[in-house]
């Protein structure tokens, strides 16, 4: 913030700049505020007496007197490590404030500490986790795990309160115990991270994927061509599986293929298990090549036993 106005006499301006330089170790806001007041006074003094230098002495003397009267600390030149000290002093109130907040929130940590200890032990012992609530470990069953967490949290809070009222006990012991809890938290966080992933993951089962239609050793079967022993292609053979269920390929009554030739029953049912499947010429009800089939050379069979 500049406090010097355009019509400030040059002498006052120079004097103020010199005073400002001498007060450079003060916090900027405090220094500006102080100098704003000094400036308006110096302007009037200059108007009254003509020269301010003769009246006020050197800027350094002025600054020293001002500092002493205002009860401000010594300049940096006087105390060599003032900057470090100042920095610490500036931060100490914040450190103290953070400490107060931490002390107020300590019970939250105490409760969390109980959970961390139980779950940490479970994670290290790999005792398993509740399937419904992966945050709860299983000790035999999940109910015992939940009870253990509750018990440990209450015990941890009680210990925390006792330590606080008894004056803390050994500082080193407290720090070491809390550090151990933080270390235990690592496998806990690891587990919780994994369980969060698992809850959204797909569980692969053998029945998860069903290949539609017929499959012959993994290769899809698009049609079936039955032949008689004497090598003749049969038509409209109805096929059933071992359970007596009709073997259909691609037959969907909801999405009928208008070009597929489908036999109908007297009750207006559709026979999708009639093979070979035949297709009409597009737009007609005429099968162009009813005897078309794959190049098959039927073997010569011995007479049946």
């Amino acid at each position: 913030m500049s406090v010097i106005t355009d019509d400030t006499p040059a002498e006052v301006e120079e004097y103020l700049a010199a005073v400002r330089a001498t007060l450079s170790d003060l916090p900027p806001a405090e220094r500006d505020d102080l100098l704003a007041e000094v400036e308006s006074s110096l302007r009037e003094a200059a108007d009254d007496t003509g020269s301010i230098g003769a009246r006020l002495g050197s800027p350094e003397e002025f600054a020293t007197e001002l500092r002493a009267a205002a009860g401000l600390h010594e300049s940096r030149a006087a105390t060599s490590h003032a900057t470090i000290k100042e920095t610490i002093e500036r931060f100490v109130p914040r450190v103290a404030a953070a400490r107060r907040v931490a002390l107020e929130l300590a019970p939250v940590w105490w409760a969390a500490r109980g959970y961390v200890v139980v779950v940490g032990i479970a994670a290290l012992a790999q005792s398993g986790w509740s399937t419904r609530y992966p945050v709860v470990p299983r000790f035999g069953n999940a109910e015992i795990g939940a009870a253990a967490i509750l018990l440990a949290s209450v015990a941890s809070v009680v210990v925390g309160l006792r330590m606080r009222h008894a004056g803390g006990g050994s500082y080193r012991t407290v720090v070491a115990a809390n550090a151990l809890c933080v270390a235990l938290a690592i496998p806990v966080v690891d587990h919780l991270g994994n369980s969060a992933l698992q809850s959204t993951a797909y569980i692969a089962t053998p029945t998860a994927y069903v290949q539609p239609g017929l499959v012959n050793n993994g290769a899809p079967v698009l049609n079936i061509y039955p032949y008689s022993l004497d090598g003749k292609l049969l038509h409209d053979v109805l096929l059933y599986d071992s359970a007596g269920k009709a073997i259909d390929i691609g037959g969907n009554p909801n999405v009928p293929n208008p070009d597929r030739r489908v036999l109908r029953t007297t009750g207006n049912g559709l026979l999708y298990n009639a093979f070979p499947i035949r297709y009409y010429e597009p737009g007609t009800v005429h099968v162009a090549h009813p005897n078309a089939g794959p190049p098959v050379k039927t073997p010569t069979a011995l007479p049946a036993p």
Binding site: A36, V38, R43, E44, L56, A63, E65, L66, A70
Partner: protein, 131 residues
């Protein structure tokens, strides 16, 4: 008389040291009281307070001492401050006395009355002796 001279030197040194400390302390305390009295009479800004102190007889008082004193009394809660626009230049920071400042002033008046009475009595006695 070496030990005697040494003692004498010690006394001189001690008294000069005490004089320096006392004087600065005394002046500081006196300036606080004087500044509070001036501002209590009527609110004023820095240079105004300097002028009024000088007009009252404290002709040697330094400008910087007064600004610093105002600042310190303000920081201690003895003075309140407000900014007023000025026709002649930048805004002026005016100071007024708070309740705490008035209490401090009353205390200073009591201390000063006791001190000055004692000193006056002492000095009058001395004057009679030398006369």
């Amino acid at each position: 008389m070496a030990p005697g001279r040494q003692y004498l030197r010690y006394c001189v040194k001690r008294s000069s040291l005490l004089r320096t400390v006392d004087r600065s302390q005394l002046l500081k305390g006196a300036l606080d009281a004087a500044t509070l009295a001036v501002v209590a009479e009527q609110d004023g800004y820095g240079y105004d307070v300097v002028r009024r102190l000088r007009a009252a007889g404290l002709t040697d008082v330094g400008d910087a001492s007064v600004y610093g004193t105002l600042r310190r009394l303000y920081g201690a809660g003895a003075l309140t401050s407000y900014v007023m626009p000025s026709d002649e230049g930048p805004h002026r920071r005016y100071y007024g006395v708070t309740d705490r400042g008035r209490a401090q002033l009353a205390e200073s008046q009591t201390i000063w009355a006791d001190f000055s009475q004692t000193l006056t009595r002492l000095l009058e006695t001395k004057a009679e002796v030398t006369a």
